[in-house]
Amino acid sequence: MTTTFSIAEIGHYALVLAFALSIACSVMPVIGWRRGDVRLMQLASPVALAQFALIGVSFAALTYAYVASDFSLKNVWENSHTDKPLLYKVTGVWGNHEGSMLLWVLTLAIFAASVPLFGKHLPRDLKALVIAVQSWILLAFVGFILFTSNPFDRLLPAPPQGNDLNPLLQDLGLAIHPPLLYIGYVGFSMTFAFAVAALLIGRVDQAWARWVRPWTLAAWMFLTIGISMGSYWAYYELGWGGWWFWDPVENASLMPWLAGTALLHSAIVVEKRAGLRIWTILLAIMTFALSLLGTFLVRAGVLTSVHTFASDPGRGLVILGILCLFTVGSLALFIWRADSIQSKGLFSPISREGGLVLNNIFLSAVTGTVLIGTLYPLLYESLTGQKISVGPPFFNLTAVPLFLPLLIAMPLGPFLTWKRSDAWAVSTRLFGVLLLSAAIAFGIYLWRGGSIAPLAMMLGFWLLLGALWEPLWRSKAGRAPLGETLRRMSNLPRSMWGGALGHAGMGITTIGIVATTAWSVEVIETMRPGDTVQVKHFAITYETVERVQGPNYIDDIVRFTATLENGRSFPLEPAKRFYPNRNEPTTEAAIETLGFSQAYVSLGDVDVSGVGTATVRAYWRPWTTLIWYGTIVMFIGGFLSLMDRRLRIGVPQMAKRRAPMIAEPAE
């Protein structure tokens, strides 16, 4: 006991030290910059690293307390149990409000430490101010943890046993989803810090642009995959096969994603053409503000949500205060200083820049409608006192139609040339792709019928094939000998492949969404042992029902044998799971992936003591995994783009460059 006691205290103490350091780091680099004091500015770098080390120690200490089941910590007692498997003891650290805030802050500290680690070639003033801005955020949130949500609060005398973790969270999903999501959310603090620093200094230069683009990309990649993993988690854990609910908490992560996607594209113009600088700075501020809004919405419990864990209205207000402070403050700075930023680069409406501007207009509009739909219930209630909810129909009527033109135009964008382009020439380059996707859509129409579904499928294939056609076309596929095409292909910059894969991923996800929405089959049946039910391409036969003791739960498992049309059979064993420590049941769906499609079975009521009558929900979900595979392709695309040597983090563009900067290949 004595060792765990001191370790928790070390964690707490390290957090307090980090708080003190972040006060220093919030102020000193700014003073150094105002006075032109190089030493004060240079102090920012080691302090940023020290902040990271201290918060790392703090996080490690809390993790240790969880693994050692130190119930003298209130937080551990509330969320852990000695019977819990080790994985969930570790992931339980961030399966609650206090611990997840600590993970949030740790992620922020990692990003702040990345500036001195990777930013050796950043101008001194920019580097110092960026670290200072990140320390402001760190100060606010470490303070929030210490004063309102301290995970190291003691509970003495220590209870012998803990309350266990919310059963829904005792899943591999908790290990994966929040960390990825946080890297995404918090990653946008980097662009935010650069935006604020640029406004303070009144300068946007090449170093700025070269840094902002890849870090936006990194944050976007992790947000993409984080949202996607969360969607898959909800899909299998909530037990009814839905993958997106237009729930406030989902919208909270979708909004920074939409704004971040816009930012990703406008940052291209900043980097390559030195244009759209002011807009990009505004977008960087808004994206991070939306990330903070997400943090607030998830925690405040102000909206009825399917997913919220760790809600607390009182602490939510503090986060709301932090959100307002940073948003209003940075927007005021923007209004005051935006004139100091000069944008260059004139372009005609039909051009690569024009296409990217159109992308930004539509993405902003979609973000705006999602924002209104998400916050409207709060606004409405505060004005009228009436409680309302805004559900999927609202978003299907607003966000979806505004997103469609964007998708239709997406394959055209990469074929546009900078400054001015020829709309007709670009269209003819994609004529073959259009014909091919129309042919596929017609094939689907002949096969399955329908009207909207084949058209929507045509859109999906138009996105996928259009995106893949770009690298082929640039390598003169079909217009040059194969050898030359291959040679050209391998010479294409990785960022180009990255962009193509990013767009292709969107196409794959679209195809998955359309197929799942249009052709899913759902069968709900009350079954007894021996019964067989046909679900489109498979049949399930109820074999037995059994009660099984798990480590900290009891499973009522119904064993089915599923048989495919081709005679192949496999077991499907869904369960109703009961966690006695928390007196809570969950539904454990059984899923078999067949190609890209899935057979999905979950249970309603099970009469395990009697004859075994069970309410069974069985789904055939065609091509449903494409929804998530698409996001993995987007992630890989982002990764390739990061690996592009022209963008590689920290590579200076002056001396080390081997070849002169080639203009855009084949443009």
Binding site: N166, G239, V249, T304, A310, S311, K387, P393, L397, T398
Partner: protein
């Protein structure tokens, strides 16, 4: 680029952005008019009435001893301890794992011509002693349920990892 052309380009940009913005505003206005769902308590419905077919959310507790499970549909009564409303949920509607008698629930649906509430969505809060925000406030507003203060306290304590509504 000549000035006239530059002006023309700027005009195109403003018109495009304006058009998209107008479309977004129009869609939002229409959708907010048609697609918002009001939250009612059984008492609200008892006093104000509820037209058949009007989609609302109803919050309350599942009354003890009223749940009748069937193969086609489930029947139960939702109460705010002041008024109550009979509910039918077709078997196609997912009943959350947490659904049970005494549990706080939020239902989405509409009344049918007989006056029974047909639920199309059932949400239950993921904590055994948790009362949904709306329900707790509605109960507290009436001042008729001594448990309401406890429920609100539970709400404040909910930071211990208790869950959201699950379907």
């Amino acid at each position: 680029m000549p000035l006239a052309k530059r002006k023309k380009n700027r005009l195109i940009l403003i018109v495009t952005a304006g058009a998209v913005l107008a479309a977004a505003v129009a869609l939002t206005a229409v959708a907010l008019n048609d697609e918002i769902v009001f939250f009612k308590t059984p008492s609200d419905i008892a006093t104000e009435g509820l037209e058949p077919g009007v989609r609302v959310r109803v919050g309350g507790l599942v009354k003890e001893g009223t749940v009748v499970r069937g193969t086609e549909q489930n029947l139960f009564t939702v109460t705010d301890l002041d008024a109550e409303i009979a509910v039918v949920s077709p078997i196609s509607v997912t009943v959350p794992a947490l659904f049970r008698e005494g549990q706080g629930v939020v239902l989405e649906g509409a009344r049918n011509l007989e006056g029974t509430f047909v639920a199309t969505r059932i949400l239950a809060k993921h904590d055994e002693n948790y009362i949904p925000v709306e329900v707790a406030e509605a109960l507290k507003g009436k001042g008729q349920w001594k448990g309401a203060d406890d429920a609100l306290k539970t709400l404040d304590d909910a930071a211990d990892g208790s869950g959201g509504y699950t379907q």
